[in-house]
């Protein structure tokens, strides 16, 4: 066995906590305190005891465990620990725009005259339909400002909680309380019905190289959805790896949130292994319940460099778990687009809605779709019909004449 554990534990524990924090484990002082208490309770005579006492008190999730093991080995072997794993690349999102914050924040000059407002409004209207990838920097900034006002209400579902209603089951609790208040005189019966709650919204944003022009705007859209708190929202990025970005996105300020997100995403503008990352998502999160009954939105061009069959299998799986599966494709806004590219064609049969996601207007429409308002003329009819392939063939045939998506 290694060296005996020093009798004076606190300084060691504090040093260890510091090393853990440097490695990215959230071992705050209260946890270190718990660690010291645990060491005091156990009769620490083996390194293994110290290991478990620390792991139980200082870690908070499976992601911490690997870091913990690394730091523990290094720390108690007396080797200096070098911060985060060096493989992590930090990428700035829209770096130039972020360097000068508030470019688009300036209100229209002076008092808003009628013409100024009209000009502003029409510029905004024009911006609504422009392809995000084609915008100038100033327009990008304006777009970001507009995106910040977007919240994504989830489709309503019935919940187990009840609320007062005009009819429905008798609300014993309230009825009897009222009777009690009236000194036992029987009064009117009270009723209650299920309280509607918004469904969970799940955003899967493709951040691979082919999405470079859109990823920033789409992530800002995701930020607005998370911040809007209209519905519980979870956001993941897909690329060569899966990253959960709900936490980094939670910051109130959009630019700060975007910086946190870019720091969290290791595979920014990399290749696309949609099938594999979806697989990982479903194994680690989706099947356990995160996707179950949710309205899921995949924001991707469906460009798959990996195995298309794998993508088909995983999208089918996602479609079964979710209440509705929406696919928003930025390229679908281009004239002559047809969803015939390998990955997109494979995924389409399992989506309930397929739509563009290239402009502010299309994102507005997406929000409406997620809220359950979309029963409009969409190539998508029922999922079952699509699974047979009839509608897809029809939709493709209609679009056949145009230029194919490169």
């Amino acid at each position: 066995m290694a060296d005996p554990v020093p009798l004076s534990l606190s300084p060691v524990a504090i040093g260890f906590g510091r090393a853990l924090r440097a490695a990215g484990v959230d071992a705050d002082p209260s946890r270190v305190q718990a660690f010291v208490a645990a060491l005091g309770t156990l009769r620490v005579d083996r390194v293994r005891d110290v290991y478990w006492a620390g792991r139980v008190t200082l870690c908070a999730g499976p992601d911490d465990l690997e870091r913990y093991d690394r730091v523990f080995d290094a720390f108690f072997a007396g080797v200096a620990v070098t911060g985060r794993p060096s493989t992590r690349r930090r990428v700035q999102v829209g770096a130039d725009a972020l360097a000068a914050p508030g470019v688009g924040d300036a209100p229209p000059e002076d008092a808003p005259t009628v013409t100024a407002i009209t000009r502003y409004a029409s510029a905004r209207e024009a911006l609504r339909h422009r392809d995000v990838a084609d915008l100038t920097d100033a327009e990008q900034a304006e777009l970001r400002r507009l995106l910040a006002h977007f919240a994504m209400p989830g489709e309503v579902r019935r919940s187990r909680r009840r609320q007062p209603a005009r009819r429905g089951a008798v609300d014993r609790r309230r009825t009897v309380r009222q009777v009690l208040a009236a000194g036992g005189e029987a009064g009117r019966l009270r009723h209650s019905g299920p309280r509607p709650r918004p469904r969970r919204v799940l955003l899967l944003v493709d951040v691979s190289g082919s999405m470079a022009g859109y990823a920033d705007a789409l992530l800002r859209f995701a930020h607005a959805a998370v911040r809007g708190r209209e519905a519980p929202t979870e956001v993941f990025t897909l690329g060569t790896r899966l990253t959960r970005v709900t936490q980094p996105l939670a910051h109130r300020d959009a630019d700060t949130a975007m910086r946190a997100v870019s720091a969290a995403i290791p595979d920014w503008s990399g290749g696309t292994r949609l099938g594999a990352t979806l697989h990982e998502f479903l194994d680690r999160w989706g099947q356990r319940g995160l996707a179950r009954g949710a309205v899921a939105v995949v924001l991707s061009d469906g460009w798959e460099t990996g195995d298309v069959d794998e993508l088909r299998t995983q999208v089918r799986r996602l479609g079964r778990l979710t209440h509705r599966l929406v696919w928003a494709n930025p390229r679908a806004g281009r004239p002559g687009f047809a969803p015939t590219a390998g990955g997109m064609a494979a995924a389409l049969p399992y989506c309930d809605h397929f739509q563009a996601g290239h402009s502010l207007a299309s994102l507005e429409r997406l929000a409406a779709v997620v809220a359950g308002a979309a029963t409009e003329p969409d190539p998508a009819s029922s999922r079952r019909e699509r699974a047979t392939g009839h509608t897809v063939v029809a939709a493709t045939a209609v679009l056949e004449g145009g230029v194919r998506d490169a």
Binding site: T41, R46, R55, G61, S159, G184
Partner: protein
């Protein structure tokens, strides 16, 4: 074992007292707790033994995470057996609220009491009558309140990730103070904090504030040797050969990238199914016929069949 720090050691026989809670007789460190857990049929590894020991000694809630079927819930019932305490279980779900988790008033009984008082002609003393209505005997204690009033007790808060944030906030309050305030009655204190085990399947991240209150342990699938031991402990009638072969097959299946890798519970189900068919070893026909007790998805079964069960079994036998 390397005995160090003699000043920290206690003379044998001296009662162990800890600030938080009482330890069961004969339990003074994680290995002795593991031993007691083994006696009630639960095989805990070092990590879980340490986590559970700390939870007992310092009376902090223990948060267990891990894949479905690794024995999170079983930990709580094993602890209850070791403590010889009742196990109170609170199953969380979306929309659970205080009246289902904490307490509720027994309204019909209150009305009855009111009517009885009226029939007895006691209308005059209104204040006293009202006070009687909110007497302790009309309070229906739900699991959380029951746990505070029972000693010793193990409280299992199952699948806490299914409840919503507001409920987590409520839990946080109760698990830090171990008190519940009923406005009409006053505050109810736990004399000794209950042993609390929370489980989560990670369908949602449990709030940091709640995690901070808890010891954390990630339960992994057991090793080959331990799983064989678990099977032999839980199903005493099973032969050594069958146990080894089934466990080897299950461990192979876990590496197969399945939708739902089988947990320990499935291993036990499968073994029990094979025993019911009178098997003393694993063969391709029986394995194929009973696959439904291990793999609960059609895709997984297809994949397992594609692997070719007989080769799987052959490999399993070779490994075992």
């Amino acid at each position: 074992m390397n005995e160090v720090g003699t000043s920290r050691g206690r003379p044998p026989g001296e009662a162990t007292t800890f600030p938080g809670g009482r330890l069961p007789d004969g339990v003074s460190d994680p290995p002795s707790l593991a031993e007691r857990l083994r006696e009630v049929g639960y095989l805990a590894d070092d990590g879980l033994a340490t986590a559970a020991f700390l939870a007992l000694a310092l009376r902090r809630p223990l948060l267990l995470e891990g894949d479905a079927g690794v024995g999170k819930t079983a930990t709580a019932s094993a602890l209850a057996q070791v403590l010889d305490a009742p196990l109170l279980r609170l199953q969380c779900y979306e929309g659970i609220d205080a009246s289902q988790a904490l307490y509720d008033w027994n309204f019909p009984a209150q009305i009855l009491h009111l009517r009885a008082a009226e029939a007895a002609g006691r209308r005059a003393d209104e204040d006293a009558l009202e006070a009687e209505l909110y007497d302790r005997r009309f309070l229906v204690a739900r699991p959380l309140l029951q746990a505070l009033e029972t000693d010793p007790v193990v409280l299992l808060i199952d699948e806490v990730d299914r409840a919503d944030d507001e409920f987590e906030a409520l839990l946080l309050e109760i698990l830090s103070e171990f008190t519940v305030t009923v406005p009409e009655l006053g505050t109810i204190h736990a004399t000794t904090p209950p042993v609390v085990v929370l489980t989560s399947n990670r369908t949602r991240e449990v709030h940091d504030a709640l995690k901070r209150r808890c010891y954390y342990h990630w339960l992994d699938h057991p090793s080959y040797a331990r799983e064989v031991e678990i099977v032999r402990t839980h199903l005493p009638g099973v032969g050594e050969r069958l146990a080894r072969e089934v466990v080897a097959a299950v461990q192979t299946l876990r590496d197969q990238d399945l939708l739902k890798p089988p947990g320990v519970a499935e291993t036990l189900d499968w073994t029990a199914a094979l025993v019911a068919l009178g098997a003393d070893h694993l063969d391709a026909d029986r394995a194929s016929a009973t696959l439904g007790s291990v793999l609960k998805f059609r895709e997984d079964q297809e994949r397992a069949r594609a692997i070719d069960v007989s080769s799987l079994v052959a490999r399993a036998v070779a490994d075992g």
